[in-house]
């Protein structure tokens, strides 16, 4: 069988597709398995420190968010739920 220069043969294409399918299957199987936690529980001491909280003082951060939200056009994605207005 003649093959155009620079193009892989049919058998090579089939082989590549089989390998690709195998890789995809392995990746899918790996996705099903729960990943091993790479930070062990005994290595998480720093996350228990209050200074590492995203919201250490909710009463203060919610107030400050309110100050910004009533003066700016942007809103949302602050990780908090909102309500009310106070805009007039």
């Amino acid at each position: 069988m003649r093959v155009a220069p620079g193009l892989p043969s049919v058998s090579l294409t089939v082989k590549l597709m089989r390998e690709l399918t195998a890789v995809l299957l392995l990746a899918a199987l790996a996705g099903c398995a729960a990943p091993t936690p790479w930070v062990k529980p005994y290595e998480r001491e720093h996350f228990a420190d209050p200074i590492m909280s995203f919201n250490r003082d909710p009463v203060s951060s919610t107030y400050l968010q309110h100050v910004f939200e009533t003066r700016e056009g942007a809103r949302g994605a602050t990780g908090s739920v909102g309500g009310g207005c106070g805009c007039n």
Binding site: R44, M52, F54, V59, Y63, A74, S80, G83, C85
Partner: protein, 404 residues
């Protein structure tokens, strides 16, 4: 909008102290937490006094937030918040009259922990003489992948009633009987908290918000050119679209520094169907010193483009179908510098109140408008040639926190 509730950071609920004994307890707490599944917020009460002063507006009032566990799986929270407003802002001076009013907001919330899932519900109600708002929300949070990842899905719904106050011949303010509007809001959110390394944690938030109804401020006006008349412009009612949909996505990265301090970098992208495109960037630094003090410093930068239907000065009356001059819809840059101090102490003679704090925070806000002019100076400079408006404001907070 007043925000309530709190972001759910993973593995951050256990208290830490500097002493070796407490550090050991904290480590044990961190080890035990995954076995127990999720963690409910700590029992805590906060009493805050806030003061905003700038642009001839003074807003102050209290906020009280109490959170208490009931049994092992349920945590309840309640918040009372008040704004006492005294306003003679540039908008008020141009198209209305100075006013004083009070806004009161109450909220109730519950978090129920089941295994590694936390279910949160809440209701918020806000009342001021010319605006009443009710909001309910629901969220589900799930710890996964060895508790390195927390995913939260949220939904909220709001129902607002909008009124307009008018002054009677006797000089009393009351609702205009011919003006009663409604606005509905819905919000959908996705949050992710991911432990990256033993020193770094990443937060991601996405929120889609939609509004329908009366979305304008009924007191503010647009202005259009009218050469030869008065100051060279005439005021007219704003006309807003009745719908708005916005998308916001934010990333937060928090890093624990080797000498016990925390550095946080944040970025938020925002855009909506009104044509507003905004970027927010913030850096926060937290530094505990000595045994009982924690100091905070922050820098925030915000930039937004104007809404498609915003103009400081329209060429003529009825120039287009939607017209607004609310400065929240103008193009501007905003810079905020903040600093805070927290002193932690034990209540003398009350062993159950071993952790308390007194906190002070000050933020200075500078807003630099690119296309909102000081129309009060039109008679001096001519309409459309007035200096651009700048807002300088200070925000003060003092609060006491008690863990019980």
């Amino acid at each position: 909008m007043q925000l309530t509730g709190e972001a759910r950071g993973a593995h951050t609920r256990c208290a830490a102290r500097l002493s070796p004994f407490t550090r050991t307890l904290v480590t044990l707490c961190a080890i035990a937490a995954p076995a127990l599944g999720g963690v409910l917020p700590e029992d805590r009460a906060d009493v805050l006094w806030h003061l905003y002063k700038g642009g001839d507006i003074t807003i102050q009032g209290p906020s009280v937030l109490v959170r208490k566990k009931v049994g092992d799986n349920l945590s309840l929270s309640a918040n009372y918040y008040e704004d006492m407003i005294s306003s003679a802002s540039i908008d008020v001076k141009l198209s209305a009259s100075p006013y004083h009013e009070t806004r009161r907001q109450e909220s109730l919330g519950a978090d129920y922990l089941h295994g590694k899932s936390t279910y949160s519900v809440g209701f918020i109600t806000s009342k001021e003489p010319d605006y009443k708002a009710n909001t309910s929300y629901f969220a589900v949070s799930q710890d996964m992948f060895g508790d390195l990842t927390t995913v939260t899905l949220g939904y909220r719904r709001g129902w607002d009633r909008v009124f307009r106050d008018i002054k009677t011949p006797q000089g009393v303010l009351e609702n205009d009987p011919t003006f009663h509007q409604r606005a509905d809001h819905r919000g959908y959110s996705l949050s992710l908290s991911q432990v990256l390394t033993r020193n770094a944690i990443l937060g991601f938030n996405y929120e889609l918000l939609t509004d329908q109804g009366y979305l304008a401020n009924p007191y503010r006006k647009i202005r259009y050119l009218s050469p030869g008349q008065g100051a060279g412009f005439t005021l007219a009612d704003q006309v807003y679209p009745n719908t708005r949909t916005s998308h916001a996505a934010s990333l937060q990265l928090k890093y624990f520094l080797p000498y016990r301090a925390a550095l946080t970098g944040q970025y938020r992208f925002f855009r909506d169907t009104w044509g507003i495109l905004a970027h927010t960037a913030e850096v926060d630094y937290t530094h505990p010193v000595w045994k009982h003090w924690i100091f905070d410093g922050s820098l925030r930068y915000y930039r937004q483009g104007a809404a498609d239907f915003y103009s400081d000065l329209f060429p003529r009356a009825n120039y287009q179908n939607f017209m607004a001059r609310d400065r929240e819809l103008a193009a501007f840059r905003s810079y905020t510098v903040g600093a805070g101090a927290s002193w932690q102490f034990a209540m003398p003679g009350v062993p159950s109140l071993g952790k308390n704090s007194i906190n002070v925070r000050v933020d200075h806000l500078l807003v630099d408008y690119s296309d909102f002019r000081n129309a009060l100076l039109a008679s001096t400079y001519g309409a459309g040639n007035e200096p651009l408006y700048k807002l300088d404001a200070n925000v003060f907070q003092v609060f006491v926190s008690i863990w019980f």
